[in-house]
């Protein structure tokens, strides 16, 4: 016998936890007694009926599948356009637009701080000419779009650009469908976006919503975001609680502008599909139920539409690992399944190579195919809310409702969601949970396969290596140099006689407290860049033109501010 006899350990891989990912302690089983306090009519309701726990529509996925979406944004407008066309051919139904990181921060590519992250994470969509290239030949009047950006300036500006592109093409903007994240809490809590301080964020959030409600009725101009706070450290309770608090505050703020919740219509939440399977399903069912109750009981909604919450998903990027990336296929498939069982409306699932770089075409087609297999081979979507009535799931949904309500009461007691942001309390909550998770991982009380358990010994195999190698690579130095030259030429080539009065109007609208959205559309049409949009609005508030305080205000803007 050799010295290395193989040993069998039947306890290898035993459960290390008795609680969900968010720390909800579980019993070994649940029975009718655990849900005897629930009433079918009041707490669940048939799909399509208040409080929509079981889904928004009576037929659910039978007559409308969830929208299949991806953020598609590569280094150049041409590549991005090409990718959109390929994904549409493979079943993409929802186009999520994004841009590179400097643009999301509200600066142009010729700003000195843009260099390090230029064309990273997306196209530098600095002005309308890039949008025209990026969206060339795509069905603008028929597609569903989403703005997934970080900075609040992005929603105001890119909605403006998209409307201008549609108007230029003679397409009725009333056909514009989709949503903007436009969440002023997430932008600061998670990203510390430098474009605007919170008081400006809060105003332009409302400017965008107000204009959209009156002019593009099929556009959902805000989608309070739980995904990114959750990725930043919040657990499921605080993720959902935060989104509910933002949505509630925004509806209250809109009332001051004379817009009721019934005029506003359905709310959209952008939520996170995490790895904890049942907790994630419970969260989606609960989100619909809690919004329906808040809308009708607290915000006075009269119409069914206004009580309906649509859920858009981003699956957890954080759950993906660069070790043994093939394992990400299992993670993402389970996360997609939890979304379908939870009755979500749109789904942007991560790809198996996302811990390595921007997703490759092949990884994304695999991702769409996973959804097609769940639909057409596993037949999961045939019946709405198939887990409804499960003792465990109903208990979990009800337990989480109590926990989320406690969190909402605490936010209220601390002066509301904006006060909780400004005081730093939200960040403390997020950080405390982030550290708790980090400790649990370090102590192996929370296992991540291939990272702190079941690690690969020796060389990586060919499949994993291939996944790593196909991931999209970041742009080279010469591509960055070309872009800076391109932006400078674009700026120099504009008709300033036409542009200047339009930028003047944006400056004045900002200063005089009028809605800025129309002024942004008009100036963007004539070539105002995103950096100029941010700078001019900042100037309207009398603060430094450059959010990063490295460049001077351009002369033509200085002239405007002195007029």
């Amino acid at each position: 016998m050799g010295a290395h006899e193989a040993k069998v350990d039947r306890m290898a891989g035993h459960m290390v936890r008795t609680a969900t990912q968010s720390g909800i302690e579980l019993k070994p089983f649940y029975s009718a007694d655990d849900i005897s306090h629930l009433s079918y009519e009041a707490d669940l309701g048939d799909p399509g009926n208040y409080p929509f726990t079981r889904g928004l529509y009576p037929l659910m996925y039978r007559d409308r599948l969830w929208l299949k979406s991806f953020i598609v944004s590569y280094a150049t407008a041409e590549e991005t356009n090409q990718a959109f066309r390929q994904y549409i051919a493979n079943g993409l139904t929802d186009l999520r637009l994004l841009c590179d990181l400097p643009t999301q921060a509200g600066i142009d590519p010729d700003h000195p701080s843009a260099w390090n992250s230029m064309m990273c994470g997306g196209v530098a969509t600095y002005a309308i000419n890039i949008y025209e290239k990026m969206l060339d030949g795509l069905p603008l009047g028929e597609a569903v779009f989403e703005f997934a950006h970080a900075g609040m300036s992005s929603f105001l500006y890119f909605y403006g650009v998209l409307v201008a592109v549609m108007e230029n093409k003679g397409i009725d903007v009333k056909k514009l469908r989709g949503n903007s994240i436009n969440d002023p809490i997430r932008t600061k809590l998670v990203y510390s976006c430098p474009d605007f301080p919170t008081r400006i964020d809060r105003r332009i959030c409302l400017d965008h919503i107000e204009y959209s409600v009156r002019n593009t009725p099929n556009w959902r101009p805000i989608a309070p975001n739980g995904v990114d706070p959750c990725q930043g450290g919040m657990d499921a309770i605080r993720e959902l609680g935060g989104a509910l608090a933002v949505a509630t505050q925004v509806i209250l703020d809109l009332a001051e502008r004379g817009i009721t919740i019934d005029e506003f219509g359905p709310m959209v939440f952008a939520l996170d599909a995490e790895s904890d399977f049942f907790e994630t399903i419970a969260k989606f069912r609960l989100a619909r139920k809690m919004w329906a109750k808040i809308a009708s009981e607290k915000l006075g909604a009269k119409t069914k539409r206004a009580m309906q919450l649509k859920i858009g998903i981003r699956t957890s990027g954080l759950s993906l690992t660069s070790q043994k990336p093939l394992n990400n296929a299992a993670r993402v498939a389970l996360q997609i399944l939890s979304c379908v069982l939870g009755g979500v409306n749109s789904l942007d699932a991560s790809s198996i190579d996302e811990a390595v770089g921007l997703p490759s075409l092949e990884a994304r087609v695999f991702n769409l195919d996973t959804q097609h297999i769940i639909t057409h081979e596993a037949n999961i979507p045939l019946v709405a809310d198939p887990l409804g009535g499960s003792y465990y799931l109903e208990w979990l949904t009800s337990h989480m409702e109590r926990e989320v309500n406690k969190y909402l009461e605490e936010i209220e007691a601390r002066g509301g969601i904006f006060a909780c942001l400004e005081s730093g309390w939200l960040n403390e909550v997020m950080e405390a949970n982030r550290l708790k998770v980090q400790r649990e991982k370090a102590e192996c009380k929370r296992l991540v396969v291939g990272v702190n358990a079941f690690r690969e010994e020796g060389e990586e195999g060919t499949v994993n290596t291939a996944i790593r190698d196909v991931a999209y690579k970041t742009p080279s130095v010469s591509m960055r140099e070309n872009l800076v030259a391109e932006v400078k030429a674009f700026k120099a080539g504009r008709d300033m006689k036409r542009l200047k009065p339009l930028i003047t109007e944006l400056y004045r609208a900002t200063k005089e407290g009028r809605n800025t959205q129309r002024a942004v559309i008009e100036a963007a049409r004539e070539g105002m860049t995103v950096g100029e949009c941010v700078g001019v609005i900042r100037a309207g508030y009398g603060i430094n033109y450059d959010p990063l305080q490295e460049i001077e205000m351009p002369d033509f803007v200085r002239e405007i501010t002195k007029m």
């Binding site: 701080s113 390090n116 992250s117 954080l318 690992t321 660069s322 991540v448 702190n452």
Partner: protein, 132 residues
């Protein structure tokens, strides 16, 4: 009581990368290990980072980035350090890295070059040895 000088680390993020979780994790983990750690926050310039490293008298600069631009970022920081006459600063990096990035960084003398999910004890050990 140990009289050993504490290791001083500057964790830096340059440009507009918003992915902060790696940097924040490292911040707490290294502090728990008894190191003195300063985090620059996001949206920093190479010049600012080089100056901070000198004025804070750190042993190691740890660059964190998830845009795939670590070689470009490291190069800019090294150039700024050189401008102010610092040629022996230990620079380590972590974040999104391709195999080619790792080769390029090693050529510049930047070590570590850890991808996402690297065991924390490995990073801690590397920073300890870099600071020696």
């Amino acid at each position: 009581m140990s009289r050993e000088k504490k290791i001083r680390v500057l964790i830096a993020k340059l440009g507009c990368d918003i992915h902060e979780r790696g940097a924040l994790t490292l911040l707490t983990v290294l502090r728990d290990e008894g190191m003195e750690v300063i985090y620059t926050g996001r949206y920093q310039t190479a010049k600012g980072v080089a100056n901070a490293a000198v004025s804070e008298d750190v042993d190691v600069i740890a660059l964190s980035d998830h845009t795939g631009s670590l070689p470009i970022i490291a190069q800019s920081v090294l150039a700024e350090l050189k401008k102010i006459g610092v040629t022996d600063m230990k620079v380590v990096s972590g974040g999104l890295l391709s195999p080619q990035d790792i080769k390029d960084l090693e050529k510049m003398g930047v070590s570590g070059n850890f991808g996402p999910g690297t065991p924390l004890e490995m990073i801690i050990e590397h920073i300890r040895s870099a600071a020696r």
